[in-house]
């Protein structure tokens, strides 16, 4: 009896242990996947925050440009800065044969001429002087320097040819190569040149989209929640509405995009590719989230507070506005922020309403064409040039950072206003 009892006990203990191990295994697997994901993204993307530059001496030759200190901005804009830049380059590298000059020029970003022009526009006195400047290298150079494009392969398949590679090594040895923080990544819009492409336009686009979304869905969601929770009679109809709101939260987002395309663009004729339309479509998605969060928070307000207010002679509206809603606000705001964070990461509906256009300019309002963060990442991921790989990963990093910020804000809000009765 004692023997069988102890083996039974042993079996129970080991079963218990196995059961616990399944859980530990599942958690570790999930955690490992997340860590692997983050590691891949960060290791690919972190390099996008630095760009390779070369030091170049530029002689701002006013005679060549055909402008003087007194020239108007318009005249400066029309001057041939690309020619000036190339002339300087060719003069400094006079050992480079004429037919190779093209390859020399190709080592620099197209933005060099524009950067020089901006310098003259902001400061005319620079004309006639010679400046040592750091000029952005082209994406191909950048890729080789960062080791993201292979060096040790045959010339035909390499992003730089032997001649360019030789120049690069020479300049590196001369200390003319440097790297600096890639501020363009945050300020520029999209570009056909990877070294110039930035998230600025997408961040602004996402900002306007979320603003429209918030302005539409928050008041509507709160009003709907108050009505359903406090006023609506409990009958068949409200039950159906309730079930449908819960279902709405689970509808695939592309369907909302189709709805936006069919109704908002084609029927109401609102401008395509704009944050306004994007915000309207996304608000359809955040609305159920907000309604559900707000209703849950309203329900959680203790009835004693309601009764206390009513017994003081407060009308129903006063009871709701003075007592119930303020107590339900933290939960509602948390739900709203989480809804917006979801909307921030939403791609499919935005593709449907044309927010994947190639937009260089940063949108200044909700009525200008724009892209959004996830759509920009999608666009970059589709691009064939190698330079977009690190941009894609860096874009994902930015989305993750924004989401983490929004979610932690929601958590702080919840903790701060948490009340105990």
């Amino acid at each position: 009896m004692a023997g069988s009892n102890s083996s039974f006990l042993k079996g129970r203990y080991s079963a218990e242990k196995r059961f616990k191990l399944y859980g530990v295994f599942a958690v570790s697997l999930a955690l490992g996947a997340v860590i692997f994901l983050l590691f891949t993204i960060f290791s690919t993307g972190y390099s996008a925050f630095w760009r390779t530059e070369f030091q170049v001496e530029i002689q701002f030759n006013g005679d060549y440009l055909g402008i003087t200190q007194e020239s108007s901005d318009q005249e400066v804009r029309e001057a041939n800065f690309l020619g000036l830049f190339r002339k300087n380059l060719a003069e400094q590298n006079n050992d480079v044969p004429r037919r190779e000059l093209r390859k020399l020029f190709a080592m620099f970003s197209e933005s060099a001429a524009d950067d020089l022009r901006e310098m003259v526009i902001t400061n005319r006195s620079i004309l006639g002087t010679t400046q040592k400047l750091k000029v952005l290298a082209s994406s191909s150079v950048d890729m080789i320097v960062k080791g993201q494009a292979p060096r040790e392969i045959e010339e035909k398949r390499r992003v730089l040819n032997d001649f360019q590679l030789g120049l690069l090594d020479r300049w590196t040895a001369e200390g003319r190569r440097s790297s600096s923080f890639n501020h363009r990544f945050f300020t520029n819009g999209d570009s056909r040149s990877p070294e110039l492409a930035g998230l600025g336009g997408a961040i602004a686009g996402s900002f306007w989209t979320l603003m429209v979304c918030l302005i539409l869905s928050f008041p509507m969601g709160v009003a709907a929640a108050i009505y359903l929770e406090e006023y609506a009679p409990k009958n068949r109809l409200t039950e159906i509405i309730e079930v449908n709101i819960n279902n709405l939260a689970a509808v695939p987002s592309i369907i909302f995009g189709l709805l936006g395309l069919a109704v908002i663009l084609n029927f109401f004729g609102l401008p395509r590719s704009t944050p306004l339309v994007g915000g309207i479509v996304l608000s359809l998605m955040t609305l159920p989230t907000i309604i559900i969060a707000c209703r849950a928070s309203l329900k959680a307000v203790p009835p004693s507070i309601r009764e206390g207010a009513l017994a003081m002679g407060a009308s129903k509206m006063q009871t709701i506005l003075h007592h119930v809603l303020p107590l339900a606000m933290p939960g509602t705001l948390t739900g709203t922020i989480i809804g917006l964070a979801q909307a921030l990461g939403e791609t499919a509906p935005l593709l449907m309403i044309g927010m994947f256009a190639f937009v260089v300019d940063i949108p200044a309002g909700p009525l200008e064409s724009a892209t959004a963060l996830p759509v920009q990442v999608y666009l970059w991921a589709e691009s064939s040039e190698r330079g977009y790989v690190e941009l894609t990963a860096a874009g994902i990093m930015m989305i993750l950072i924004f989401m983490a910020l929004m979610n932690s804000f929601a958590i702080i809000l919840r903790k701060k206003f948490e009340r105990r009765w």
Binding site: K234, P302, S304, I305, R306, E307, G308, A309, L310, A311, M312, G313, A314, S315, Q318, H322, H323, L327, R419, W421
Partner: protein, 252 residues
Amino acid sequence: MDTKISAEGVNVFYGEAHALKNVSMQFMRNEVTALIGPSGCGKSTFLRCLNRMNDVIPDCRVEGKIMMGDVDINDSRLDVVRLREKVGMVFQKPNPFPKSIYDNVAYGPSIHGLARTQADMDRIVEESLQKAGLLEEVKDRLNQPGTGLSGGQQQRLCIARAIAVSPDVILMDEPCSALDPIATARIEELIEELRKNYTIIIVTHSMQQAARVSQQTAFFHLGDLVEVGKTDDLFVKPQQQKTQDYITGRFG
């Protein structure tokens, strides 16, 4: 001694359930009336008829006449906001608003427009806290949350909140059931004090409390008003066997 509220043939239904059966009784001005009886006997239901708090319960139907002066409280056309200004209520569990002590007391006067100036409001708040016997304890921290007070203090804050709108009647639904004996004693003293200015109706589970604080007692059982009479008489020589059983603790 005149009648403040007079209930005639009050019936309450929760859906199909008949919760209160044909209750008629009078409440005297400046008296404390205690409603006693076992749980579920309808005493709280009856109390909530007097300021129409049953309105918020779906499926609840109240029949009969409840006259306060020449107004029928149970008239569906009556404005409940006006009524509740005249009939205040204190609940079983202290339920101060999660606001400052000052704002708790000032809430009633502000929604009913009773204070024209800030000074008026300060005076009302101070007087109400004084009457509720709380002023001395909280006068230095009027801006702190009412929920930070002790249970007994919270309940006195709720009483101060109720009397801030100068009601005629104060309803108390087991006001001491969540309090310790010392806090209970303070509330009971306060009830005796408040009786001078208000008509008080109190639901209580404690027969000792009913005997201590009330002048009139009504005994309810299963929705029936079994017996109502002067407290001194009812506890000493009850007319009904059921009352006798209940007050002697022989009730099953």
